[in-house]
């Protein structure tokens, strides 16, 4: 398989989907979620596209664990007491399975072929895992993990018996031969299905029933396989974790079967499922998971509602990137500067931070009468800001600083016109926040920036700001192609991006253009009046990573339903709307739309004479 180096695509190169497990391991920095996945229990990993679900699952495979070099790698290898079996999925695969017999076969017959294809796909993944355990590569630098020695004779016997159970006839009685025969079976399934289409309905049920290999149940076949392996390897009660990626793409019956499998009482089988936050079309996923006791599985959310929660991971990742690019021991802050962030109370504030706040407040006061009014009402003297401390400072200066910074950067004058000075989007922690802890975005942005750094010197703030903006624009290009849900009638539908622009524009007005409001809103709650169209659209935005769910303290991760929940725009979109990278207070979505004079009925419709965007 082609390695990462041959890709120059921002999103493609850092997409774990295209990488072998050992390649994923070469640059893997473990986020805190990873350690929860190491436990030998069912897990549901929820995150938008690009949040690292595939990476985390791939890092549970033997091939990845053995190749991984990190200060915590040994600890993690010790903690993983199962064999990871990664079952890949993507839209092309799903479409291929669903197309089997799509024309000419009745639903029941189609289901038989779809199940057979899925079972074969899983068994092939299992055999790959077995092959790695028994025949790992002799590459240097690998640290053995759960390797098994099967004598040649035992392997032959094992394969012969398993082939009999799975109704295969491998040309060579080896694990590799078994895998190849499963590939042949995939072709055979397609061929039999195509033939059935031509043969017609008469006697079809009997013909299909006669093909025993079409009726293997995946769970039964898997259990038979691992039991047999236990017998031949001498292991007893070993655990196997089946790692299903992109569950939301799978045909409904597969996702239903797998979510139900979380209730499995066979302790040898562990299921780790990855899916997007809003599985709107997979209602049974929501209902199945929602009905299960939380102790049956572990829910892991791969997003950071509060940007600071992602900083540790981002800093580790960027530090490692710097080390590999001969920046030596330079810290991210040395290369990108700090972001003048206010540290939590009790931690030393950077001197630059306090000076920056004061400068911005003075600058804003000089051109914003409404801000001057605020200062007066709160008895804040610009010449004595350093004297404001403790709780009062927290409730005033610290509270408004993000809004002040954005207004100062973008307000030209009291006429409320906006101007461009986006250098506020710079600094190490700003880059972390803009990335949302999304490894793909973060690696992409930082790679581009480091390539512009001369001789390991600091990257200018202007360059950082431009890169964050450019990455945001690339993201917008993707969002532009996602449609909003259907409306009735002949009205043309707008893309998802139009909805996001309305929301972002409404926030921009409140934060930047209107009179200064220390409590300007910057997030929204989907209230009960949101109709299905709007909810579905917001769900698409959530899955794409354009919206971030901000849960209450004790709320579970998801997948989620939207009503009553709080969301904010992804920080990567902030430059477009001139918004600060801060979690501002929520407002009801209906109120926000009403303030922008938008109705849900027309929100998604293009004007009849104009063109969107």
């Amino acid at each position: 398989m082609t390695g990462r180096d041959s890709f120059s695509n921002l999103f493609e190169a850092y997409n774990a989907r295209v990488l072998e497990p050992y390649q994923v391991a070469q640059t893997f920095i473990p986020p805190r979620h990873y350690f929860r996945l190491l436990e030998a229990r069912h897990s549901v990993v929820v995150g938008p596209r690009g949040s690292g679900k595939t990476t985390l699952l791939k890092m549970l495979q033997g091939a990845a664990l053995e190749a991984w070099r990190h200060s915590r790698a040994e600890e993690c290898r010790d903690r993983v007491r199962f064999t990871g079996v990664f079952i890949p999925a993507d839209r092309a695969w799903t479409a291929q399975v669903e197309s089997l017999g799509a024309r000419g076969l009745d639903l029941e017959s189609r289901r038989v072929f779809e199940e057979a294809a899925f079972t074969t796909h899983v068994l092939r993944a299992l055999v790959r895992a077995l092959e790695y355990r028994c025949h790992p590569p002799s590459t240097e630098g690998l640290t053995p993990h759960r390797r098994t020695v099967l004598s040649a004779e035992n392997e032959v016997q094992f394969v012969r018996e398993l082939a009999r159970t799975w109704q295969l006839t491998p040309a060579v009685p080896s694990l590799a031969g078994l895998r190849r025969s499963l590939s042949s079976r995939m072709l055979e399934i397609h061929g039999v299905c195509a033939k059935e289409r031509l043969l017609g309905e008469k006697d079809r049920t009997e013909r299909i029933a006669a093909q025993a290999f079409l009726h293997l149940s995946f769970l039964t076949a898997v259990v038979a396989g691992i039991e047999l392996f236990d017998d031949f390897s001498g292991e007893r009660g070993a655990k196997w974790a089946f790692l299903f990626d992109e569950l939301e793409l799978a045909p409904d019956w597969i996702s239903q079967m797998l979510t139900a499998a979380l209730r499995s009482v066979d302790e040898r089988l562990i299921f780790k499922l990855a899916l997007v936050p809003f599985a709107g079309s997979s209602k049974h996923v929501n209902s199945t998971l929602g009905a299960m006791p939380r102790h049956d599985y572990d829910e892991i959310a791969l997003w950071y509602a509060h940007k600071e929660d992602g900083y540790e991971f981002c800093e580790s990742l960027v530090t490692e990137m710097l080390r590999r690019r001969s920046f030596g021991t330079k810290t991210p802050e040395a290369v990108f500067g700090d972001s003048a962030r206010v540290k939590p109370l009790g931690r030393a504030q950077p001197r630059r931070s306090a000076a920056t706040i004061e400068r911005q407040m003075r600058s804003l006061a000089s051109k914003d009468a409404s801000f001057r009014s605020y200062l007066k009402a709160n008895r804040l003297d610009l010449d004595r800001l350093s004297a404001v401390r403790g709780v009062r400072r927290k409730q005033t200066i610290n509270k408004i600083r993000a809004i002040v910074a954005a207004r100062d950067a973008f307000r030209e004058s009291d006429r409320g016109r906006s101007r461009k000075r986006p250098e506020i989007y710079s600094g190490a922690e700003t880059i972390y926040a803009a990335s949302e802890g999304n490894p793909r975005w973060l690696i992409g942005m930082v790679t581009e920036l480091l390539e512009r750094s001369r001789d390991g010197q600091r990257v200018s703030r202007g360059q950082q700001s431009r890169e964050i903006t450019n990455t945001g624009n690339q993201f917008r290009a993707l969002l532009r192609t996602i449609p909003a849900p259907k409306t009735g009638g002949d009205s043309r539908r707008r893309g998802l991006l139009s909805l996001l622009d309305e929301i972002g524009g409404a926030f921009q007005k409140k934060v930047i253009l209107d009179a200064f409001d220390p409590d300007a809103p910057g997030s929204f709650v989907v209230d009960a009046s949101a109709n299905e169209r709007l909810a579905a659209s917001l769900g698409e935005a959530l899955n794409a990573g354009a919206l971030v769910y901000v849960p209450d303290a004790n709320t579970e991760a998801g997948p989620i339903s939207l009503r009553g929940k709080r969301f904010r725009l992804a920080y990567l979109l902030a430059p477009r709307y001139q918004l600060p990278l801060a979690l501002l207070r929520p407002v009801a979505l209906s109120t926000l739309l009403a303030s922008a004079r938008l109705s849900q009925d027309t929100l998604f419709c293009l004007p009849t004479t104009g063109i969107d965007d």
Binding site: S6, P88, R103, H121, M186, L478, P483, I611
Partner: protein
Amino acid sequence: MVYRIEALHPSFGRHYDVGIVTLGYERRARFLIESGWLQADRFLALGFPDADTFSYRENQKYFLSLGVAIHSVDDLGFERWWATEGRSLLHAPTCRKLAIDISSLSRRRLGIIMESLFELERSIELRVDFLYSLASFVPPIEDSVIDVCEPITPFFAGWHATDAGDEPTGVVLGVGYEKDRAVGVLEYLQAGPSWVFVPHSGDAYDKAVNRANRALWKMTAPDMRLPYNPRHIFDLVAALDSLVSGIEGRYRAVIVPLGPKIFALASLMVACLHYPKVGVWRVSPGEIGAQMDRAASGEVVGISIVIPINSRQNK
């Protein structure tokens, strides 16, 4: 290989047993007959019941005046209709030279027709000339939304069965001048490596393609972009076949033909050559999309397939 692919014979367009055209809303839908390029003993026009806009009525009037048999059905109806009427046509011993004007034909209908040719068994050789009337340049409408992204037909979903089974999807993309649509497709398919065929058809068009795909150029290395000329279809088929041959064992190969329809035709031909391993997907703004009335530029290009006697692949 089921059938032979050949460059158009120099005498193409002179006379056919049957000519299939499209009753659509583009002016160029009637160009081949009107200009005399295409002559046949009988013509068949495949219409769309909800296409009554732009030049549709003029086209309809023209076809009726010539006695062209018109069959207007929606896409679902077309599939059923072609399964019977199209099958009769293709099996008729009197039909030895068939011309199909694909200029205004939808990709889905083209896929259905190609599928039937792939599965055709004949006792007499059949030559099928696919003709394409290049359009005069019309500036693009800024409309990137993807409403439909799926295999052109289930037959063209592809079926991947390499030894490992965990290969990512490799996308071969033919781009057009719809802004950012290509980028959306790559993200939707969660593409691994991507190869991009870039049409070069004239100054204004080339500039529009370049502008519309700026985000894509940032994402793809220059050596992954392959220029092609829509006028040289045979070369395009050869290039596409060569690329697909190289990647089909390593990736789940999917071709997505945006841009000129001639690329869609080439994609379907190559997918048949590699059946069932290669998928061909269609991408459309669906009901969201803007319609355009394209006129013929006067240039006609094409390619032939020859279905030999007793050719069916899966007999």
